[in-house]
Every structure is written in C-alpha cells, then in structure tokens.
Amino acid sequence: MNPLAKLLEAALFASPRPIPTSELAALDAEASPAAVAAALDELREHYDVDGHGVELVDQGGGWQILTRPEYTEAIERAQVAMRPHRPSGAALETLAIVAYRQPIGRAEVSEIRGVDVGAILKSLLERGLIEVVARGEGLGRPLLYGTTPLFLEQFALRHLDELPRVDELAVALSQPEEGSLGEPGHPVASGGA
C-alpha cells in the first residue's frame, strides 16, 4: 500500500466517528484531493480483493472501516460460547448484599462494603442480575436495587425465600464446595446476560 493509504487506514481505525474526505485531507498537507481519493480507492480495493474481515464504507457523513456483516453473528454467538468467567469477590459480595437487603441503594451497599460500589452495580445491572426496583425516600430519591428473575435462574432458585436465612448460613456453607459448577442439582450459570 502507498504511504498515504497507510496513514488513512491508521486514522480511520483510531477515529471514534466517520471522517469526511475534507478532514482526511488535513492529515497530510502535501496530499492533493486526487491523491486522497486514490488512496481511499486503494484501501477499499485492498480490503475487498485481499479478502479482509473489514471493509471501507462511505456513510454517516464520512469514511469508516467496519467489520463485514457476515461476521456479526459469529462475534455475537461467541459471547455465549465463551468460557464463563468467575465473578470477582467484590462483585459477589455486592450481589449478596443486594440479594439479602433489597431494596437497597448504592450508598448503603457502599457503606457495608466500605468502598464505593458504583462501578460494580453498573456491571451487575448490565449483566441483568440486578435492576432498579424503586426509588428511596429523602434527598435525591436514590435508586434502589433488587435482584432479577435472571438472578434466580442463574442460581437455580425458585424464589428468594430459598436463600438460606442468615442464621442458617453456617449450615449451608458446610456443604461440599465441589458441587459449585456443572453438577446436577447444583446451580450453574451459563449463557450471557
């Protein structure tokens, strides 16, 4: 590829939005409009002829490099097929507090854990394990969180009542730890949120 095409490729890759031709020209003061157009053609042809997973398209008010539509499904499916990732202790502790104290606000959870849980609550929300169930009283009417049906499903619980009461915890914990993943009768999580 010629040097200008490489520069354009790098810029298109790094840009968070489509870049109009006029802005692409600003990348190299020496380059004529014709040279920029030729470099864009070269880049587009290169992606097409060489068989790349991406393509150069002119839409949304400018040029952008996009993945080809035929790979979208595989990338989305991969999410489900991926090896499950063990949640951090911090995430589990936060989830545990929400499960036992719902409805509960961020401030209260943060106070119990001794550290701000804003980011963790956000990721639990994104995972669909908790949701906003109400707004609290008082100043600012804080959001209150509770667990979702998906939470029950992923822990193989029929109802929240099936969680052991706090005074029964010791008994529940004395069960063998091995059963935690993938065995019949034990809760297993699979599949993305």
Binding site: A14, H85, G138, L173, L181, V188, A193
Partner: protein, 244 residues
C-alpha cells in the same frame, strides 16, 4: 532559584506538585546533587540542605516535609551522642533512613520503566469506533450459590461492627415536615425554628425540618432570613406573587 514551575497563585502546594513527589524525592535529589554516599550520609549537612530547600520551595506548611525534617534532625542528634570504642551494640541511627531511600530509589527505577512502556503505548491508538451491531464479546459469569453464600458470610463477618445489621435508620420525612411548616405559615406570616420543630424532636425530625425549610425556600414558598449574625432564623411566608 531552580527552574521550577511556580503557579501564578503562589500556592505552595502547586509548586511542590510540579517539583517533587514527596520528601523522599527531595532528599534523594539532594543526595544526588551533593554526590553523597547513601550508605554514609553526613547528617548535619543534609539536614541543613533539606531545611534550606524546604524554605526555598515554600514547603514549610507541608506536613510530610515537616515530618521528614524532624526525623532528620533526630537522627542528627543521635549521631552526636558519644559512643565507646568497640561498642558492638551500636546501631547506626541512619539505617532505617538508608533502607527507605534505597527502597524509594527502586520505585523510581520502576517508574522509569513504566514511563517508557506507557509512552510506547500512548503512541498507538486502539480501535475507537463501535459499530452499533457488534458489541465486543463479554464472557458470561460462572455463578455458584456456594460462592454467593460465602460472600454473604464474608460480608457479615466484616461488617459485624457498629450495628450495621441491627440498626434500621429511620427514614427522613421531609413531606411531613413540609406539611407542618405549611400549617404554621397558614396561621402566621412569620415563624421561628421552635415553631416548626418540637423541643424534644429526634435527630431525624430535626433533619427533616431542616430539609423541608430548604426545599420550600427553593420553591419560593417561604423566605429564610437572619437579621444579624447568630440571631434566630426567621421563617417568612412568601406571598405567591413574589415567587421568583
């Protein structure tokens, strides 16, 4: 003076941030400038230099530098104490300082490595464009009930301290307090704090009343005035036409 960046405000702390990362940093730079052997620091000279630089950089108010200055002076004093020839039990009062300086020097060396590697990375851009269709893959979570319960147990053990589980804080009742204030102001054009809060009010009632007054002032339902410093606050009914 040195080529330090001094802020227009003359704020001592800004100078410090631009120049040194802390008292150990300052000390290390003195040792380097004066070509001193770290294992045999002349305490009197380094003390003098340290205090001079602190003064020069207007660091006299920074607690961390003051603490280091005090430490240096103490070591200097200990060095002056007479010791007997062949005294095996003598411990160099500088030993701890030397250890900390060497440890800090290691940190600075690692910082150089990180700085170089971070610079390399900052010279490259990652993909910034998110096509709407394709979300970057995110692995599912492996959740187990036993682990969740273990987390509950951990939380309980950690937070058993001052009553986090026994005390249910009484929620504030701002709406209730607003109703009380409205009732009082319906009867009279001005009121005092004691008119809207009982003598034996509980903390949550006091807080509710305070928030109610602030909220109502914000909504221009009333006006709060204090004729002179430390005088009682007057709660004045705001006529509807005056609302801002």
């Amino acid at each position: 003076m040195t080529g330090l960046r001094v802020a227009d405000t003359g704020d001592a702390f800004v100078v410090e941030l631009g120049a040194f990362n802390g008292p150990l940093d300052l000390l290390l730079s003195l040792i380097r400038d004066e070509k001193i052997d770290v294992y045999d620091i002349p305490m009197a000279r380094i003390c003098e230099q340290f205090l001079a630089r602190m003064h020069e950089l207007a660091l006299n108010a920074a607690a961390e530098y003051l603490e280091m200055a005090a430490r240096l002076l103490r070591i200097k004093t200990l060095m002056l104490l007479p010791r007997h020839e062949g005294d095996d039990g003598w411990e160099d009062p500088r030993a701890e300082l030397v250890r900390r300086l060497l440890e800090y020097q290691q940190v600075r060396e690692i910082v150089d490595v990180l700085e170089r590697m971070g610079e390399d990375r900052r010279n490259r851009f990652a993909r910034a464009w998110f096509p709407a269709l394709v979300a970057p893959p995110q692995a599912p979570l492996a959740l187990s009930l036993v682990e969740l319960l273990a987390a509950v147990d951990r939380v309980l053990r950690v937070s058993r301290e001052p009553g986090l589980h026994d005390v249910v804080p009484r929620p504030l009742d701002v709406d209730g307090a607003i109703a009380i204030v409205r009732a009082v102001l319906a009867l009279r054009a001005s009121a005092r704090w004691r008119d809207v809060v009982r003598e034996d009010a509980e903390p949550w009632e006091v807080l509710s009343a305070l928030l109610a007054l602030l909220e109502m002032a914000r909504r221009s339902e009333l006006k709060l005035a204090q004729p002179r410093p430390f005088a009682d606050v007057e709660i004045l009914r705001e006529s509807a036409g005056q609302a801002a």
